[in-house]
Each structure stands twice: as structure tokens, then as C-alpha cells.
């Protein structure tokens, strides 16, 4: 494991990622809904190959951060830099093309389509056909369909799901649907993968397997991962850096060891000890 070291912009990066542009950097990111400040002054830097965790009590604003990063919500203040480029003015689709892929807390698969087609929809931006080659079945249609088919099965094999390719996505068990969402996100060839509670509804052995797979994805695809998770075994097990959010504000940042012993974090999760 490499260590966190400060970089010139006064932020922390993993030693192995130093010298490369951070994949994501946010400055004073915040959003208000009416008079309510949901997220405020959110500062985050993620290195090229970092696995980072975003934790916090229910309602802390974790998913809102994901929605801000992917422009489902447009931030009220602050900037987001993706590979050093500002994302102002981009919409959700453009953000994905620029390199952020995500999964959803409440699974959003194309339930009526097959597993394979779900992954092919993920490959959409990387298929070089257009409406004309699709209608007239030009050679490029056959070539790209064949390529998409192979890539889809290859991606499904990460989770050992290639045998389920012809099944309807909506009929899969809960855990498999979560895994399929990750595969679909990976199909878009991101440089940053956002996972919203990937282990929700999984049993301990499935969670352990998921941890290995997330590491493997990072190593094989050379991408960064930011995940929201309530399962502390998973968070402490694979995250190199952790950000703790409460009431929309960052209350702590650091390595898993630092977070575990941080009194502010313990207070946010368990409440304050009553003084007698």
C-alpha cells in the first residue's frame, strides 16, 4: 500500500499517483434545495488509481454528492475538475463520455431487456454505427454488433455472469442486478467509477468476493473508484482514503485507521457521550 503525500496544490494524493493529474478534484462544491443546504464546501481529490470511500450517517448527503458529480443536480457553487478539465455546462450524458460512470442506490437497470443488451447499452458510446448503418444493415453494423457481443460477454465474465447473458435483467436476484449495474458502468470505459452502496443486500461471503472484484477492476482497468457504503468491513477493507460526510459537510478525511479512531466520526455515528 502506498502512502498519502501532499502535492503542490496542498492536497493529498497516494504516493503512486503523484505526478499524474488527479482524476477528480472538487473545489467548494455545494448545492442548496430552496433554503436547505444539502451539501456544502465539499473538497475532494481522487488520484488516478485510488479507491476512495464516502461514508456518513443516513441523510448526510452522500448520494447528493454523486448526483452533483454526474450533473443529475447542477451545483449551486463550486467547481468540479475531471482530469484537470472543468465540467461546467456538461450534462449527465456528457459527464459519462468525459469519464465518470456510476451505479445507483436504487437499482436502475433496463429491466425488460436481456442482461447482454444492458451491457450493450453501456457500450453505446463506443459502437461506431449510426442510424443509417443500423437501418440498412451495412457491414459496419455487423462488425460493431459482433464486437459489442464479444465485449459484453468478456465484461460479464468479470463477475462470472456470462451464462446469464440471455436472461431478462429484471428477473435476476438482487445481488446479481447490482453486479450487472457495475458491468454496465464499466462498459462505458470510465476513468472514475462511482459505486452507490454496491454491497447492499449482499451476504458476507458475497461482500468479500465483491471487495476482491473491486480491487481487480481497479488493477485491470487502471481506474479510480469512489464508493458509498454502509458496510464498514468493506469500506475499511478496500478503501485507501475515506471521506466522512455529516449534514452535508465533510467532518473527517484520512486513511481507514485515522477515520476509525477519529472522535468526531465516532460521535457522528454513535452520538455524544452524556456528561454525568
Amino acid at each position: 500500500m502506498s502512502k498519502y503525500v501532499p502535492i503542490p496544490s496542498n492536497r493529498m494524493l497516494l504516493e503512486r499517483d503523484v505526478g499524474k493529474e488527479p482524476v477528480l478534484e472538487t473545489h467548494h462544491l455545494g448545492i442548496d434545495f430552496g433554503g436547505l443546504t444539502a451539501v456544502d464546501d465539499f473538497e475532494l481529490t481522487i488520484g488516478k488509481t485510488e479507491i476512495a470511500g464516502l461514508i456518513g450517517p443516513n441523510g448526510a448527503g452522500k448520494t447528493t454528492v454523486f448526483n452533483l458529480l454526474t450533473k443529475v443536480y447542477h451545483p449551486t457553487r463550486g467547481t468540479i475538475l475531471l482530469n484537470g478539465k472543468e465540467t461546467t455546462g456538461m450534462d449527465t450524458a456528457a459527464i459519462n463520455r468525459a469519464g465518470i460512470a456510476r451505479t445507483f442506490q436504487n437499482i436502475r437497470l433496463f429491466g425488460a431487456q436481456t442482461v447482454e443488451d444492458n451491457v450493450k447499452i453501456g457500450l453505446h458510446m463506443h459502437m461506431k454505427t449510426n442510424i443509417w448503418s443500423d437501418i440498412f444493415r451495412l457491414p459496419s453494423y455487423w462488425r460493431e454488433e459482433k464486437k459489442a457481443q464479444e465485449t459484453a460477454l468478456e465484461l460479464l465474465s468479470i463477475f462470472d455472469m456470462q451464462d446469464l447473458a440471455k436472461h431478462q435483467a429484471g428477473s435476476l436476484p438482487y445481488g446479481a442486478q447490482r453486479r450487472l449495474e457495475i458491468v454496465r458502468a464499466l462498459a462505458t470505459k470510465p476513468c472514475l467509477l462511482l459505486l452507490d452502496e454496491p454491497a447492499a443486500g449482499m451476504n458476507p461471503s458475497e461482500t468479500a468476493e465483491l471487495m476482491d472484484i473491486i480491487r481487480k477492476i481497479r488493477d485491470d482497468f487502471h481506474i479510480a473508484v469512489l464508493l458509498i457504503e454502509h458496510d464498514m468491513n468493506l469500506v475499511m477493507g478496500i478503501c485507501e482514503g475515506i471521506v466522512v460526510l455529516n449534514y452535508g459537510k465533510i467532518i473527517a478525511k484520512g486513511t481507514p485507521e485515522e477515520i476509525q479512531s477519529n472522535p468526531v466520526v465516532i460521535e457522528a455515528y454513535l452520538g455524544k457521550k452524556e456528561e454525568a
Binding site: T92, K120, I121, H124, M125, T129, D134, F136, Y141
Partner: protein, 356 residues
Amino acid sequence: MKKWKALSPQTRSDFITYGIVIAAFIVLRLLSAFGMLSNSLTGLLVPLCAYIIMAVSLNLTVGVLGELSLGHAGFMSVGAFSGVIACAGMESFIPNPIIRLLIAVVIGGVLAGITGFLIGIPVLRLRGDYLAIVTLAFGEIIKNIINCLYIGIDGAGLHISLVSSAELGLNSGRVVINGPVGAVGVQKISTFTFSFVLVMITLIVVLNIMRSRTGRAIMAVRDNRIAAESVGISITKYKMIAFITSAVLAGAAGVLFAMNYTSLSSSKFDFNQSILILVFVVLGGLGNIRGSIIATVILYLLPEILRPIQDYRMLIYSIVLIIVMLTTNSEKAKLYIGKIKARLTKKNAKGGEQGE
């Protein structure tokens, strides 16, 4: 047979659909060759094909894209009247009626497509049922514009007026569109074979779109807008593609339809017409192309065969539509249908075992 089994279920289903249409065409051709088709039924074949194209193309908007359109007859109208004008203009220098019809179909389709594009620009960016509202208005507007449109043609070219046919100032030419009377003096050049070819083209276009990258994107937009955006699909672009394709095909169907009558009034393409086509689509099943064809054939031919209930046609349609909507949305009805299905398949399975 082995090759057949190796195909994906979707491809197989598509080929069955093509097969059904081709077989129906051959049977009808044979029947008419042996003089076994009544005159009234023969007269219905071209409009039936036009309605099939309408239903299949509307299914692309309503079933595949998941946006409600209530003005599909408006596109048909744009195609029909522009086709009539184009045909009248070409009469003098293109003697072959089939080539003239073909060019008119292309012109009608393109113009309807452009109209669809203009409607789509503002509306398809919005979420919600705005498309239904705007297309509803569009259908009425087109009907009323053509109602007060006078177009004549002579050696000098097209003459257009919004007042009366006398204002056209024609010398030795003829009036093509005569205000509330509609298109007059249309040459009946639509043929059943041409209609069949157009139906096949429509089917190939729509089914090929559905089974491709474009179609998957369109269906992704329908199934889960946020997820579709999250994988980089541009929502507006694919809504546009589906809607414009649907409009182009409707325009082509309009030309086919218009060229089957000697005169045609714009009130033929009113709200009832749009709803009639929507009924075909809903009864055939949203997103189910073969279903649209079958529903159109049954619902279009039934009133003609059962002439006595003609007066109650709209009443029966509305009742059937309500029943279908209720049964497809009610959990109890679904459960009941599921039970019947399970019982039927069980019986079949048993029968199969005994047979072996």
C-alpha cells in the same frame, strides 16, 4: 432448421413477422387472380396497407420510445396533400405512374419528417406528456390550414391562395387543392403491390432500428431515462430519431392513402383518425410490431364485414380500449391471465409427453 435455431429469438420473431406479411400478400394476390375477392374488399386493400404503416410507425413513437403522440394523422395529412401536389406537378413530364408515386411517397415522407423535426425541437427536450398536447394541437392546425388552402397548377407552375380558387388566377391549368373540398381530381395510382412493398420497407426499417444500437438507446430512454443518460446516451437525440422516423413513415403512408381516392378532404385526417391508429397500436400491444399489424387488419376489416354495427364502431372501440387498459393495468386481471396461460402450457406440455 439448425440455422434457424441458432438465430436469436428476436431475429426469429422478425422473420416470422415478415413471413406472415409476405404469405398474406401471396394469398390475397391468388384470391384476386381467381376472382374470389369481392370488389369492396379489393378496394380496402390499399387503405389497409396505409393503416398498417401508420400503426407500425406510431408504435415506434408510443411503444418503443414511450412518448404519447395524438396527432399521427397530422403527419399522414402532410404527406397526403404534399404527395397529391407533387403528383399533379409531375403528371406532364413523368408518364409512368409508379415512378410518379414513388417520388411522391419520398416527397411526402420527407416533408412529414421535416414537420416532425420542427415539432420535436421544442417538445422533445421536455419531460412529461407535452408531446401528446402539442401533437394533438398539430393535428388540428394542419387540418384547418389545409381547409383554407387553395392550390392550382398550370403551365407557369404552382399557384397558392388562402382566399378562394378564383384568386389563383389560373389559365388553362387545374385546381389541385380546393379549400374545404380538399384534394380534387387525384389520379388513382396506388396499387396493392406497391402498398405491400411499402409495408415491407416500413417493417424492415422499424424492426432493424429496434434490433440495433439506435433501438437499444431508444428503448433505454423509455425504460429508465436517468440510467440512459448515465451511460452517455443523449436523450433528445434518440427521441428525435424515433419521432422523425415515425413521422416520415406516416407521411409515406399518407401519400399511399391519398393516391387511392379521386378526391380527399382534410377532415379525413382528424383527431378521430389519430385515435383510431392509437387504438390499433394499443390493442396490438405497445412495442409489439406484429401485434400492431394483426390488430390493424382485424379492426379495420371487421366493421366492413359487419356493416350493420358500423354506427357503433366508435362506441365499441372506446369500450374495447378501456377494457384493454384496465386489464393490462390491473394486478388481478394479470394474475388471472397468468393462471390461464400456465394451465394452457401445462396441457400442452402433457400433450407433448404423451405424443412421444
